[in-house]
């Protein structure tokens, strides 16, 4: 049994965010972190490993330095890593990204009891689309917004968060789950983990490694294979700063004059 976790390296949008004058992000000026929801996905996989002894594989698509993130996740307990990297993959929207990640999962191989984990949403692209799109391409059932997972003999029982409560459902494996922060508390790297992580296997899947998968065509991956394009981008409008008032009485006076209260 395997737990395959898709993990994205993202710029830290909570820190200093740099937008260039032409309306694109200055990624070089920003620190990178592991996408927060993906840490919950890795933790869920590690807990499953403790319960069942399954193998935990972390997969990322990104530039070569993303290897560092994979090593860190192996130091937390993942057994091996897969770095999906290639010029051909650049500029992919969520449709194309999920084609490539689904092909990578196919190459790893999906068994009847396996589970693919994703985060719900990456904090840069912010779409929450890649998880469900990978599930579609792998013809697997999906459950999104997962807050609880129980392994049963014939599948999983999971809780899925709704705006005003939750849904409890039974899902057959193999399946794909997208994880949210309510699911668990991610563990830290352990000291032995840090020593071991460099000895753990890490495969690199480039275009040639994946090209035989029918999902990988020049018109289904990369910029050319992306149905959506960024047409224009710009910094959000800055509103002129408001008026600072000196006292509560002045504020209430203004609000009253403007018939706001």
């Amino acid at each position: 049994m395997k737990a395959i976790v898709c993990v994205k390296q993202v710029p830290d949008t909570q820190g200093k965010v740099a937008v260039k004058p032409d309306g694109t992000m200055d990624r070089a000026a920003m620190a990178t972190i592991t996408n927060p929801d993906d840490l919950n996905a890795v933790e869920a996989a590690l807990q499953l490993k403790e319960e069942t002894g399954c193998e935990v594989i972390v997969v990322t698509m990104g530039p070569p330095p993303a290897e560092g993130m994979l090593r860190e996740l192996m130091a937390r307990g993942a057994d091996r890593g897969v770095l999906v990297s290639g010029r051909e993959f650049g500029g992919s929207d969520t449709f194309a990204t999920s084609q490539i990640l689904a092909a990578a999962v196919n190459k790893i191989g999906v068994g009847p009891e396996d589970i693919v984990f994703c985060g719900r949403q990456a904090i840069d692209g912010d779409t929450a689309q890649v998880g469900p799109q990978i599930a579609e391409k792998l013809h697997m059932p999906q459950v999104t917004y997962v807050t609880e997972i129980q392994k049963k003999a014939d599948g999983l029982v999971v809780k899925r968060m709704l705006e005003d409560g939750y849904m409890e459902m039974k899902v057959q494996t193999p399946c794909l789950l997208t994880c949210i922060k309510e699911l668990n508390q991610p563990r830290y790297m352990s000291v032995p983990g840090i020593f071991e992580c460099y000895a753990k296997p890490l495969d690199i899947f480039d275009y040639n490694a994946l090209k035989d998968d029918p999902l990988i065509e020049t018109d289904t991956i990369g910029l050319k294979g992306s149905p959506t394009n960024v047409y224009k981008s710009f910094a959000p409008p800055v509103k002129g700063a408001g008026m600072m008032v000196e006292s509560v009485s002045q504020l209430v006076g203004i609000l009253n004059d403007k018939h706001l209260i």
Binding site: E168, F234, M243
Partner: protein, 368 residues
Amino acid sequence: MAEYNAMDTAAFKGVWVFCEQREGAIQTISYQLLSEGRKLANDLGVELCGVVMGSEVNEGYVKALGGYGADRVYYIDSPLLKTYTTDGYAKVLCDLVQDKKPEIVLIGATNLGRDLGPRCAARLHTGLTADCTHLDVDVEKYKGFLRETSNIDVENTAFEENTNLKMTRPAFGGHLMATIICPRFRPQMSTVRPGVMQTQPFDEAGMNKVVIEKITPALTAEDIHVQVLDVKKSARKMVDLIGADVVVSVGRGISADPKKGIALAEELAGALGGVVGASRAVTDADWLPSDHQVGQTGKTVHPRIYVALGISGAIQHLAGMQDSETIIAVNKNASAPIFEAATYGVVGDLFKVLPDLIKEIKAIKAAQ
């Protein structure tokens, strides 16, 4: 039926809105999307269709969608659609799209819509744009929007004259706005978060002339690979932030005495006829339940008055409230970014400012 080809863009016509129901009740996001879809359909000169899936949904509710702008409603009725499942809903929606070929499909970015939309876009081989805050088909209207909200030099920029859907959305936690297009594939799909678009007034005449097509889907139990065991509502009544006229929100600034800070916010909200919201710092600390959270990963609100108490003004918070009509901020740090978004700012300790503010407002209310 001719073979379905998502790239044959000329074959696609009409604007669709997926009208979400839960326990038989149409969700308000559907009305917001129909109002927005109506504008797009008018600009394109095409029909606006609502799509409802469920089991024995009240006919009156289905008809009412006409009052919010729908010319036609496809009502897909099956016991298997009573409760949402990805497999069931995605199959029915994709089958219908492949049969009728709409050029635009709008879906609410709810926990269900965000599950359904990407699954369908992947199956239909088309693009999906997430969490749109502005939609245009008309180039002139789009230029007007850019003039108002961006630093783009519109007069010296080339724009292609076409009716492609221009879908504008925030990314990078709200630090960047991007307009996304899907020029080569149809339908052009987008999700929109609840509270972002305004509902237009109900129109009785529209309701009376709407055409309802009831469809029995080709869906069997074998198509659905999950089994819903239970749907539980949380016992507590949820706060209606999106519909509120006034929202008084608290942030980490209440940490010295969270109970007292919330009590003061409730008192102020009571005096103003509003409800209490929160920053994520507050919901993460469990001082208030998560349905109170305003922001990028919480709710989008645009009340008449928004009061931010002890909230620093992180971009993820601003994303959910910056379109409020009047914003009042109380913060002890004069350089807190919230003051840049505020209409009126008070520098001070909220535990000292609030009792005075409540007293003076109550005095005015009593005199009215």
